[in-house]
């Protein structure tokens, strides 16, 4: 909990927490057939798209079949990982008591073994959200994503590492829990890590066998087309997941915390940290489904175990609470949020500027990523535009700005 955040008294903070708790209680009381129908429908769509995609790729020597098959398989993998896998593994559907949707046993179509994900994501990331040194989603052990991470010359490669991570995202996530940047010191630690590495290897092997050997072989003469289609689908999923996930905590305005700040938090303070550390994306219904509703990152971090398709419904209430308590609610369209993430990746590649450097130098640093971000932002903007936003994105001016005291690290650069 940021000690330097005197914007709420402890009574106000508790009242704020109680209001959020009331939303949770209300949704839980309302859970039922609608939620079961929803997730079953998404699963049917995913399985249908997968079968259709793989079927079409068998005729992949015909360009339209290859394109349609690859597109269907890409969408299927995105749904599998995001709206189904990520959300089911949070236990969002445990209350259905359906063993097929049991959060503790569900497995997904990606390189990361479900059990390791449940630890690194559900526990480490969701409990210690945005605490530098504890939340490994800050930079995945290879990137500098926060001013609070001390700069080293290694980080000059930040944009390159980020690009590689995006391209190979499923493997980045898979080795995420191995803490590759920290060597275990004890024998038990080494033993545990080698077991985890073995699990990752088994999962990667099974995934590779399926996508890059069995399905291509099964297609006979279409072998290269199926191989290329499957690789493209995996790549598309990687890039999309990276984009959405990095927009969850790194657009400008999100706050990181120190371990001291988060010590002895109450639940209300924990809620407060979740909101300050997360950012939403605006878009249409289809966009939110494809984003696994992680476009409602704030609501997801408040209530990670509520069915994600409910986040849109409660977002107005969460936002209203935030406005009444003067807590910034960070949201914006994908192209804008992603551009700001790319900006941060590039900016943090460089060491913090000493104050004696002139205004010109600081401006140069701020503008440096623009040539990189502009074409990408334009592309993303077009993609999202195709999905027709159901609600007009809020303008920048109506968004409350975070209190300056909460972002000491950023002040160094932006001030």
């Amino acid at each position: 909990m940021p000690s330097a955040a005197p914007i709420l008294t402890s009574d106000q903070l508790e009242a704020f927490g109680a209001e959020l708790e009331a939303i949770r209680t209300r949704v839980i009381a309302d859970l039922g057939e609608r939620d079961a129908d929803y997730i079953n429908k998404v699963i049917r769509a995913q399985r249908g798209l997968e079968v259709a995609g793989r079927g079409l790729l068998m005729a992949g020597f015909l360009p339209p079949a290859w394109l349609a098959g690859t597109a269907a398989l890409s969408v299927s993998k995105i749904l599998d990982n995001m709206e189904i896998g990520h959300n089911v593994m949070h236990g969002q559907y445990d209350w259905l008591k359906d063993p097929r949707l049991d959060g503790n046993t569900f497995e997904w179509d990606t390189a990361c073994p479900g059990d390791q994900w449940r630890h690194s994501h559900n526990y480490v990331h969701h409990t210690h959200t945005n605490i530098v040194g504890k939340d490994r989603d800050i930079g995945y052990g290879i990137l500098r994503m926060s001013e609070q991470q001390p700069w080293r010359p290694y980080y000059l490669g930040n944009p390159i590492y980020a690009t590689l991570l995006a391209l190979l995202f499923q493997y980045g996530v898979a080795v995420h829990d191995l803490e590759t940047d920290q060597m275990p010191t004890t024998e038990a630690g080494l033993q545990q890590r080698s077991e985890m590495a073995l699990e990752v290897w088994r999962k990667v092997r099974a995934q590779t066998l399926k996508d890059y050997i069995l399905f291509p072989l099964l297609s006979g003469p279409s072998f290269p087309f199926v191989l290329a289609g499957n690789a493209t689908a995996n790549l598309t999923r990687n890039l999309w997941a990276f984009t959405i996930i990095f927009c969850g905590h790194f657009p400008s305005g999100t706050v990181e915390f120190t371990e001291q700040e988060a010590e002895n938090e109450t639940r209300a303070q924990w809620y407060y940290r979740q909101i300050l550390g997360s950012a939403n994306l605006t878009g249409g219904e289809l966009f939110h489904i494809m984003a696994g509703n992680l476009s409602h990152q704030i609501e997801h971090h408040l209530f990670p175990d509520l069915p994600a398709h409910r986040y849109a419904e409660i977002s107005a209430d969460v936002r209203d609470i935030c406005e009444r308590y003067g807590i910034p609610y960070n949201t914006g369209p994908l192209h804008k949020q992603f551009a700001s993430v790319v900006g941060r990746i590039c900016r943090l590649a460089l060491p913090p500027l000493p104050p004696q450097l002139g205004r010109v130098a600081r401006r140069a640093v701020r503008l440096a990523p623009a040539p990189l971000t502009r074409p990408l932002a334009g592309f993303v903007h077009k993609m999202v535009g195709l999905m027709k936003p159901s609600t007009p994105p809020r303008t920048e001016t109506s968004r409350p700005q975070p209190p300056a005291v909460l972002t000491p690290g950023r002040e160094l650069i932006a001030a």
Binding site: I28, E33, A36, K97, H119, T127
Partner: protein, 354 residues
């Protein structure tokens, strides 16, 4: 072909069943299911279903029960039912007679909603309430209310086997209108001379045995209870009376099966009862703390993460009992549900698969 290793490798990681079931729900390999093929109502408070199980169903012994799963308002509910059909049913179908009670979510759902074509889930049969092999010389079957189903299965099985020993069949119902299998019992009694059927009605003035279970009723069942292999299924009061009489006569206690309805309401949340950790075979007195702490206090090391109901790492199957969620205050007493140990405190006895 569909269930080959190749198919499984292609369907990794979900498994081929998850694709097959979208088209043919009965052809999955990893789960047992059944299709309802017949529905009839013997009484106003019951429904009798004929179930055609999937190919992976391996049959059951008369008297055993199976977990039957249905989806109600999206939630999968599982309840134990003892099929009433013979072990030797020729086409392998199962017969379920489900009696409703006012709080019975699943029983009322089945009575009101079951239609031919409906798919239900089945668990493997369980229970030691079965006839021994070889069959005993004399058999006495005592039942009350919906408890008639497992002994009906035994009776039908013995009749199918051409069993020549004596069978006493003593059954209680509230009234003839609510009595199950009346026509068939009368028919079987006519056909099998060694079968004696005696029925008691606890309400009204219908013909039959008067009052509740006692020595007189045993005589009406026509089998010497001291030498017969006895099977009792029914409400706790019936079972207690039978046990008392057997104890008074210095006899070995009969085989007993009972299904008690879960307690539905709690007024207080005092720390009472015990926590049973089934997998580790330990029991601890309920201290009123969250189950995660109680498990740790008992020397167990359950998997856990946030300890605040967020990450779901500690989700564990609760097989019995009621817990209160300390965040929502909600009580939950369903059997076989996943609970988060870190935010659930037991209300009375609780059993965990831990």
């Amino acid at each position: 072909m569909l269930h080959s290793n190749l198919a499984e490798a292609l369907a990794y990681p979900h498994g081929i069943d998850r694709y097959i079931e979208l088209v043919r729900p009965l052809q999955v390999k990893g789960e047992m299911r059944a299709e309802v093929t017949g529905v009839h109502h013997q009484t106003a408070k019951s429904v009798t279903l004929t179930l055609a199980p999937s190919e992976n169903w391996r049959g059951l012994r008369a008297g055993q029960f199976v977990g039957v799963s249905v989806v109600i308002d999206g939630v999968r509910e599982t309840r134990p039912y003892s099929p009433a059909g013979s072990e030797h049913e020729r086409n392998g179908t199962l017969e379920l007679t489900v009696s409703t009670h006012p709080e019975g979510k699943v029983s009322r759902h089945l009575r009101d909603q079951a239609q031919p074509g409906m798919i239900v889930g089945l668990t493997a049969p369980q229970g030691q309430f079965v006839l021994p092999d070889p069959r005993p010389e004399r058999v006495l079957l005592i039942s009350g209310g919906s408890g008639i189903t497992p002994v009906m299965a035994m009776l039908r099985t013995l009749c199918d086997e051409g069993y020549s020993g004596e069978i006493g069949f003593l059954n209680y119902a509230r009234s003839p209108q609510l009595a199950l299998y009346s026509g068939e019992l009368a028919q079987l009694a006519r056909r099998h001379h060694s079968l004696h059927v005696a029925r008691g009605f606890t309400q009204g003035r219908a013909q039959g045995l008067k009052g509740r279970f006692g020595r007189k009723h045993l005589r009406a069942a026509g089998v010497d209870h001291r030498t017969a292999a006895t099977y009792v299924c029914g409400p706790p009061t019936l079972i207690e009376s039978v046990r008392a009489l057997w104890a008074a006569d210095g006899l070995k206690q009969p085989a007993v099966e009972t299904f008690t309805a879960p307690v539905q309401r709690f007024e207080t949340v005092a720390a009472t009862g015990a926590v049973h950790f089934l997998a580790s075979e330990r029991t601890a007195t309920n201290t009123g703390l969250p189950l995660l702490e109680q498990a740790e206090d008992a020397g167990l090391r359950p998997n856990h993460g946030c300890r605040m109901g967020i990450c779901n790492t500690c989700a564990t199957r609760k097989t019995e009992g009621t817990v209160r969620n300390i965040i929502t205050g909600a009580l939950s007493s369903a059997c076989d549900e996943q609970i988060r140990l870190c935010v659930c405190v037991p209300v009375g006895d609780v059993a965990l698969d831990l």
